[in-house]
């Protein structure tokens, strides 16, 4: 099982509501590889609830991850008020596992939408036997844009061009294909 799938499976087992967001989430919506960004970070949006957050951290520690907020390690056990403050203030924490260099970020807030809105609109995909909850593409791209970082803007621009190229083919080309198919069908009908 891939490390990210192991993690998703473990979060599901302890009933922590979570969605894949960021580049990893956008990748799940891709039509083909031209929209799949190579990444070393998996971003999850965890429900902003102290209990859920503590459960997620416990899962991560059991899987061998080290937890941090920015550069500071999160104490084990941590004070009950700590999870409350992270959830209340919408802060992010990271988890890193040395053996497979797996880096995970837990967001508790995303710009542009609330967790409940995003949760209601999420899409569930599969990866083999694992079900993956992914935030709407619209929510992911909006949040990237609002973060106002160059990397995020590049991702949104790349997605926009990719979608545009696929969804808006040259009308003259489409007319040619339609005409050719009609001719082929007419030929087949005549032949029969």
């Amino acid at each position: 099982m891939r490390p990210q799938h192991e993690l998703i499976d473990a979060l599901r087992r302890v009933n922590v509501r979570h969605m894949l967001v960021g580049m990893a989430g956008a990748n799940c919506w891709a039509f083909d590889g031209s929209q799949v960004v190579a990444l070393s970070l998996h971003e999850f949006w965890i429900e902003p609830d102290p209990q859920a957050l503590r459960a997620a951290w416990t899962v991560m520690r059991d899987l061998g991850y080290t937890l941090r907020e920015a550069t500071e390690r999160i104490a084990d056990p941590c004070a009950p008020s700590y999870a409350e403050s992270v959830a209340r203030e919408g802060r992010a924490t990271t988890a890193y596992r040395m053996r497979d260099r797996m880096l995970v970020e837990f967001q508790t807030a995303l710009l542009g939408s609330t967790f409940e809105e995003a949760w209601a609109a999420r899409r569930t995909f599969n990866a083999g036997e694992i079900a993956i909850d992914v935030a709407r593409l619209a929510h992911i791209l909006d949040a990237c844009w609002m973060r106002d970082r160059r990397d995020d803007h590049l991702l949104v621009a790349t997605w926009s061009q990719g979608m545009h190229d696929l969804l808006e083919p040259d009308p003259r080309w489409m007319a040619f294909l339609a005409e050719r198919r009609a001719r082929k069908q007419a030929g087949l009908a005549q032949g029969s």
Binding site: Q4, G33, V36, N126, L137, Q161, H164, R172
Partner: protein, 242 residues
Amino acid sequence: MNLENSQEFATWPTPAPPHGTVQFRSHVERFEAGAWNAPGTDKAWVEAIQPLRDTPWTTIVRDAPTQGARARLFHALGNARIRYMVIGVGGADLHARRSGRHFQTLDLDLFLPPDAANLERAWDACERAGWTLWSGLEPLDEPHDDLVARRVVEMRARTIARTEGALPTDLTFVMGELDFEDIWLRRTFTYEDGEPIELARLSDILAAKRQVNRDKDQYFLAQNRAVLDELLAAERPPEPSA
């Protein structure tokens, strides 16, 4: 419809709508509603295409899983004596690899001359290498005969070669406003897995990006300015000694 009007060709593909516009929102909604994004769709392929992680703290990584398929493709193109050059960020990446650097590429662009016979042989080479041909969201119309090839060339339309586990490869006739024959004369080459690859000069690749000037091109140029300047300096002929 006047297909011979070259001014019309230059208008396609059009630039993508910026974030926040009605058209952008409409694209996102249509994309979300696409059959490939139906609930429960298996997305294991997304992970399969992910490059290896060299280090955990960088997103610039190798596309190792695609190399077998790419090598087969370049081998077939070389064998069939196809005139093509790698351009775009994929081309810039091949230049950067010479000095141990990488640019992340999401596809590979092959620049072809407006020559239907060359295109037909290129399609044939792609298929012999195990790649399938697409036009946008649909497989390319069968048979891939001279009529389709000529029309694709006339319209400067883009065809895409796809294969399992590899990044898509675009066959394009457009490189900004640059002429194929000019670029061909200045081309260079490189090797990947022992296969020779025809490669446009980095200065031409970047000139085309500046001309096209889509949002994603602007971000790419801005984000990698220092590395690109260094690579460009290495491409220039040495200063004459005093």
